[in-house]
Symmetry: C2
Subunit: 261 residues, 2 copies
DNA sequence: AGCTATGGTTCAAATAATGAACCTTAGGCG
DNA sequence: CGCCTAAGGTTCATTATTTGAACCATAGCT
């Protein structure tokens, strides 16, 4: 693996910790030598991607990503555009709705609107969504090219619950169903007692970039409700796709004021 | 220079372009070989830090920084806390107010509130603030340890206008003044016709992390107004410091709900 | 059909990354 | 107090990765 990859993996690991970490811990978590981890941290710190607390000497994510994110969101305002739709869907479905985005080979949760009900599903921003075990993962994969499906299924399919589908052949069947139906259903794939449906947000060329998902307690969710949720997820995902790729043009060039390049 | 440093510099360069860039341009701008630039881009893309447009084959900043930024801002809500103060200052001063943050060895603009007046100073989010030639830079340096001041002054001090102070000895004098006065004044240091004042936002230990600056057209700004702006900048910067380090505790641990680590 | 500019790839040579062992400092404790 | 431990941090010979000139592939243009 390249040095850059290892350093970025370190950054990713650091970002998933819920508090600041010391050098030794970071090295252990990333399976790096202490000296190597330190050199990476120093280098990342030089560029503002990590910060070291001067007192505790522990490390945390720096402010450089904030600057990059502002630039990214200014040109590709995915969150800004999607959030109102996600909010509306959370209200109309009265269940927890979350939005995920494909980035760095994985699907991560980037926004969550909680159900207004007392008994509801909790999803954390930043959490990873395994392709084979979540509605979002299935909805995403189902609309990917066959080669990517096979690449995802070639990996070890981890078991999370008794209901997790870990047989690649059965996952393929679920993907086929999803592709024809337009949305996916995950029946306790990641957490017991939770049923989810999801639909992909796609580029004009059809490539998925993320998913809209509704997660509900299995106990109060009927078969017809699932079908309704699926239809709602599809409608919301399509609305986001349209708004995102319609008004603004992410694929083409941004009309630029400045002439001299 | 380390590979990681070069890759992050590439990312920085890419972020400062106002549109997507091709491989050849990126390689040229970063002074890298085309093959090297390509390997970096592929590696960065794997981790979501850049994206390649499938049609145009051009590269842009990816979505990974957005995720990192959300995590950073959730724990260190600098923007969230500072923006209301910046807004208030823009209203009360009726001039453009901007907020900068030190990151990766440089001071970058992270937020701007425009003056409500027709004739006003425009500052771009993301723009860099040279230490010797801007009010923000001076205010930041003035409260840094002597070693960092000398390190900054040892570099070549670029001339931007006829009024830019490029003599290290004169900059030192300006820094001394700033330290005693509490705020800095830049008289056309970066742009002709612009006068600015700035004050640092500091950690409880006194270390600057960024600056609040007011920028006004020289033509309508009296000596007394400058003093008033300076005092306002100091008050605002201190208020931000207090709120940021008071209520939330960035240095210590975040009280965590989750128990299992 | 040929030209040229750009994206992308290869592989021997050059360089940077690696990690075991080491030093240093800060607490903990008999 | 002085010993012990654990953590952060550093060194330098060994090792593996990075590098870039030259190459190929493709698309748009004349």
């Amino acid at each position: 693996m390249s040095t850059i990859g290892k350093a970025l993996a370190l950054l990713d690991t650091l970002s998933r910790l819920d508090k600041e970490a010391g050098l030794t811990d970071i090295a252990r978590l990333c399976a790096l030598d202490k000296a190597t981890a330190r050199r990476f941290l120093v280098e990342l710190e030089k560029h503002g991607f990590v910060e070291q607390d001067p007192d505790s000497r522990r490390y945390r994510i720096g402010s450089a990503p904030v600057r990059l994110a502002r630039i990214r969101e200014a040109r590709f305002p995915f969150l800004r555009i999607a959030i109102p739709f996600i909010k509306a869907l959370a209200e109309s479905s009265t269940e927890t709705v979350h939005l995920s985005e494909f980035s760095g080979g994985r699907l991560s949760t980037i926004h969550v609107e909680d159900s207004p009900r007392a008994h509801r599903i909790i999803v954390d921003v930043g959490s990873l969504l395994p392709f084979h075990a979540t509605a979002s993962g299935l909805a995403f994969l189902a609309f990917c090219p066959q080669t990517e499906i096979e690449a995802a299924l070639a990996k070890n399919l981890e078991r999370f619950t008794d209901s997790t589908v870990t047989d690649p052949q059965l996952v393929r069947a679920a993907l086929d169903e999803t592709a024809t139906r337009g949305f996916s259903i995950s029946h306790q794939g990641l957490e017991t007692g939770v049923i989810s449906t999801a639909a992909p947000v796609r580029t004009p060329s059809g490539r998925p970039i993320g998913c809209v998902a509704i997660a509900a307690p299995l106990s109060r969710t009927t078969k017809t409700a699932i079908q309704e949720f699926g239809a709602l997820a599809v409608a919301t995902a399509n609305a986001i796709s349209e708004k995102y790729y319609g008004s603004e043009r992410p694929t083409g060039t941004i009309p630029d004021i400045r002439r001299r390049d």
